[in-house]
């Protein structure tokens, strides 16, 4: 791989000698380095890609090799701090088993092949499959870590050139309900406030999010805020006691899946105590009722189209009757007094309140509704879209918003929706394809897509930078679907994963800043990054692979991007989809100059608080302080969203709630972070956390192995008692980074019918202790 220069030769000697148990031989190397001198690092700005916060990092490059990291003091999100993942992130590029050559399955085995040959095969199979089975028999499943430009190219190739809406990404698993919640309440996606809210808020309410582990840098900023102003309160609603719980002022434990009911109860109390901001509600809010009985997405084919019925204030008050705190106390386990206290914090006109929530709330069969319900609280008390007053949905993925804007989702086009004719016309015009070539019917959301693969309606699937066959719920079902004989699976990846196991072709992928691109983190911040490192071997960017396949398919004229400014050309083309002020994107040169720009950005002016006419250039001052321009009536919509029980709750056979989620050390399915020595050594394997009393009843000891069994499958895993978090009785927690403990195998493949986001956070399990000898 690397030429064996003198330094690496000496280094190898050093290693060799170390293994033969001699110390001190590395000294000459040290001495040589000293002579060559250090201090020649070049520091370059890069957004971190290992969660949804989008921290600005400075990567130290020595002769083009990334050798060190520090937090970027200029980055508005993290202000110079990072977390263990960020500090060690450059090592994700250098795992020992990095895929550097194309692999093609021959006689059942993946064997190395020239990249050009593999791309020929991919485009041949793509063309053949379309010819034999129609354009809807091919699909692409991308990554929420895609650069916006990658997502845009995938949408252009599949939606524009091939004419199918079979385009999905892992953003569907992380953030679809967040996006659908924003779209239904405000008419547009993209969060309302920004990280600056943290400097203004007096009360933070963390709603089912273990912020200390999933978004550690944001959590540190919350604690900084509290240190600067001891009157600040941080309150947590949680389904288990975690590291976050120990650092916050109050932790309120509740049963899984009851967040929506608690939010409605808070609204009930706000209304009953007359804490409603009447002027705000009269001017800026409309009330809507949607359909109920939407099912649980277990066998759906497409997203449910929401039909909004106008209702009035009295209907809303009547709807809330059911959610008296005393009733919700029985449902959720949070005391009525606590609910009233929460409501009083939201209702106090002198306190600014910021609510944060994350994937645990989105990953629910009623995820979209739960998002709506949290916006309802903020809308009722008028604490929204102003500094410190912010409902903030976190996504866990740095590209989760952007890939949607870029058009990589079954129901979206760049800057619009496939179902809207004007959006299709604009896409056809920008892309230079006939408008009737674009399919008007939304494609299948992720689970439906894999069910089509199972049935054979989809026969060609290109998976890029994602690991669906490690993290789809009811995993084994979809692994079998992917392994079928006459399905052709292409995987563009940097490391071997459970997904590459079933691939017919593996294309080596460039990671992170091995290519140029743009991310857009949790606060609408679009960040550009240069290509700073050379990918190993034959590895190339996802964008390059898409363009090469498109050219081989005969779509070269649609993908005529050339030269080193390729990414800029793609971005400028994509920006044409964002011409309206409410969606305007910054130019590449604007992006290059600063650590990110908060979108929408009109004429160099970024938007810190959306819909606030003082801050948002797209909001009209004629409408008062706020203009919710996403909906045609310029109002934000309060939806009447009833609580419905979980699809699968514990019962005598499967008596425990299983919760899955993230840990600080790892991200996603661990395919990157497990290749980083510091992170891997800190947490090499998944575990199941069990309440101490439950463990006693089961006769379990700490670190004994158990089998977790659900209706769909089982895994063996080590039990931990009073470890980093403590679940309440009847709840167990398993992190999902470890492919050796494919916990998603146990989950139910239900999904939110409105957003298509799978319910991958909770299900019912039983625990079978294994003989202590084996553990």
């Amino acid at each position: 791989m690397n030429p064996l220069d003198r330094r690496s030769f000496l280094r190898k000697l050093g290693l060799l000698s170390a293994t033969t148990a001699v110390c001190g031989v590395t000294l000459p190397l040290e001495a040589e380095r000293a002579v060559r001198g250090g201090q020649r690092l070049v520091w370059k700005r890069v957004p971190c890609r290992l969660c949804g916060v989008g921290c600005g990092l400075l990567v130290g490059l020595e002769s083009g090799r990334p050798v060190a990291v520090k937090g970027d003091p200029d980055a508005p999100v993290n202000r110079g701090l990072a977390c263990a993942k960020g500090y060690h992130a450059v090592q994700i590029l250098a795992g020992p088993d990095r895929i550097t050559r194309a692999l093609v399955r021959r006689a059942g085995r993946l064997t190395e092949a020239p990249l050009g040959e593999a791309l020929d095969l991919v485009s041949l199979r793509l063309r053949e499959t379309v010819r034999q089975h129609g354009k809807d028999s091919v699909a692409i499943y991308g990554s929420a870590q895609w650069s916006v430009t990658d997502a845009y190219l995938a949408a252009k190739l599949f939606k524009g050139a091939l004419g199918t809406n079979n385009v999905e990404t892992s953003a569907r698993l992380a953030a679809a309900s967040a996006a659908a919640g924003l779209r239904s309440t405000f008419g547009l996606d993209g969060t309302i406030g920004c990280s600056e809210d943290i400097d203004h808020a007096d009360v933070f309410i963390l709603w089912d999010v273990n912020l200390a582990e999933t978004d550690p840098v944001l959590f540190s900023r919350l604690l900084d805020r509290k240190r600067a102003n001891p009157a600040v309160r941080i309150i947590e609603l949680a389904t288990r006691t975690s590291r976050t719980s120990y650092a916050v002022d109050h932790s309120l434990l509740h049963a899984p899946h009851t967040g929506l009911a608690i939010a409605n109860a808070v609204c009930h109390e706000v209304v009953a105590r007359k804490w409603v901001h009447r002027e705000f509600v009269r001017q800026h809010v409309a009330f809507k009722r949607g359909a109920t009985g939407l099912g649980n997405g277990l066998e759906v084919e497409a997203l449910v189209e929401e039909v909004a019925a106008d209702v009035g204030w009295s209907d809303y008050v009547a709807f809330l009757e059911e959610y008296a705190p005393a009733r919700v106390q029985e449902l959720s386990g949070i005391s009525a007094a606590s609910i009233r206290w929460l409501a009083s914090l939201y209702g106090d006109p002198l306190r600014k309140v910021t609510t944060l929530w994350g994937p645990e709330l989105h990953q629910d069969v009623r995820g979209t509704w739960a998002n709506n319900a949290l916006y309802n609280i903020h809308l009722l008390v008028g604490k929204i879209a102003s500094p410190g007053n912010s409902p903030w949905c976190l996504t866990g993925q740095v590209g989760a918003w952007a890939v949607g804007w870029g058009g990589a989702g079954c129901e979206v086009l760049p800057g619009g929706l496939v179902s809207r004719e004007e959006d299709r016309r604009r896409a056809a015009e920008v892309w230079g394809v006939p408008v009737d070539h674009l399919a008007a019917a939304p494609g299948p959301p992720v689970l439906a897509m894999f069910r089509r693969l199972e049935r054979g309606d989809i026969r060609f699937l290109w998976i890029m930078g994602a690991n669906p066959l490690a993290n789809l719920p009811n995993l084994d079902r979809y692994r079998r679907a992917g392994s079928r004989e006459d399905r052709f699976i292409v995987v563009s990846e940097a490391y071997p994963t459970l997904t590459t196991d079933v691939a017919d072709v593996v294309l080596p992928a460039a990671l992170w800043f091995e290519r140029e691109g743009m991310y857009a983190g949790g606060e609408r911040r679009v960040q550009h990054f240069e290509r700073l490192a050379v990918p190993p071997g034959d590895a190339t960017s996802d964008a390059w692979q898409l363009i090469e396949v498109a050219r081989r398919m005969g779509f070269g004229s649609l993908f005529a991007y050339e030269g080193p400014r390729q990414v800029e050309q793609i971005w400028e083309e994509y920006r044409r989809f964002h011409a309206s002020p409410g969606q305007a994107l910054p130019s590449v040169s604007e992006l290059r100059e600063q650590p990110g720009v908060l979108w929408p950005s009109v004429a160099g002016r970024e938007t810190r608080w959306r819909y606030n006419s003082r801050y948002d250039p797209a909001a009209s001052r004629a409408r008062g302080d706020y203009d919710f321009y996403g909906h045609a009536d310029h109002r934000a919509w309060i939806w009447l969203r009833p609580y419905e029980p979980a699809v699968e709750a514990p019962d005598p056979t499967y008596p425990f709630w299983l919760i899955t989620g993230g840990v600080l050390e790892h991200w996603g399915t661990g395919s990157l972070t497990r290749r980083v020595p510091v992170l891997h050594r800190a947490l090499p394997h998944a575990y199941v956390e069990i309440n101490r009393e439950d463990a006693r009843d089961l006769g379990l000891r700490n670190r004994q192995r158990v089998r977790l069994v659900s209706r769909r499958g089982a895994v063996e895993v080590e039990a931990r008692i009073d470890y980093r978090s403590q679940p309440p009785r009847g709840v167990v927690f398993v992190p999902c980074f470890d492919e050796g403990v494919p916990i998603r195998r146990l989950m139910l493949d239900a999904s939110c019918p409105l957003s298509g986001q799978p319910d991958a956070a909770t299900c019912a399990v039983r625990i079978e202790p294994l003989p202590a000898a084996s553990g």
Partner: protein, 272 residues
Amino acid sequence: MSTTGPPSSGAALGLFLVAAGITAVAAAVVAVRRGLSGRPREPVAFRVPLPVAPRDPIRAESEVFRTAPGMLAIDPAVGPDRPAHPRTLRTVRFLRAFPGAPPVIPHPLSAEEFRTVACKTCHERGGYAARFAAYVPLTPHPERGVCLQCHLGVDSVMGTVEADADPSARCPLCHGPSGGAARPAASVTWRTTVWPRLPRVAADRDPPPIPHDLHYRENCLTCHAGPAAAREIRTRHPERANCRQCHLALEAAAAIFRRPPGIAPAESGGGP
């Protein structure tokens, strides 16, 4: 790039001799080159950027004057350098993946300590910890609350070892399960840069400049004074607490400091 398996003992000896030979030659070459380049030439310019004072008072200047209670306390019975585990620059590097990386935690934590991130109980105050038979290094940024956000330990002893467990339980953390070297932060396929060294200055007695950046490490004394400081970088005059009166940051390091927001560039006197 694949590494071979462990060689047989005869081959190992042969390899070792070859390796040792080549290493010796390399060492000699390096030593000669170093000697040549170390000859006194013109004063210093020597690739070292000129030391510059920060253009404005840095955020935590006052912190430099703060000495944590107990920081300089030395248990009269125990010298600062334990023979078994002297804390030296080698230790400092051993625990970090690259210069400036947050060090990993080389000792066990009880479940309670791990869950509640109780690190500052010891690391904010310093002093002698009988539990580890060692002086406690101080954190230069005690204002940061969630230590485990950046500093990770090793799973096998995190949150499971009782606080009063046998200290020998922690040996494998650094020495590997079989006693060999296992650098907690090392990677076989990734290497970092040169560790910062003191650039040579015009005269021997000049106060050396600061060779690393100061982000989250503005309080010099936490690492450079007291019994827990690494031997080579322990200051001989801890009583002179205003370090940057004499020791100036290199330009690259100083460049991270910013004027407080609200001051227009014109008022700040410009600068490069």
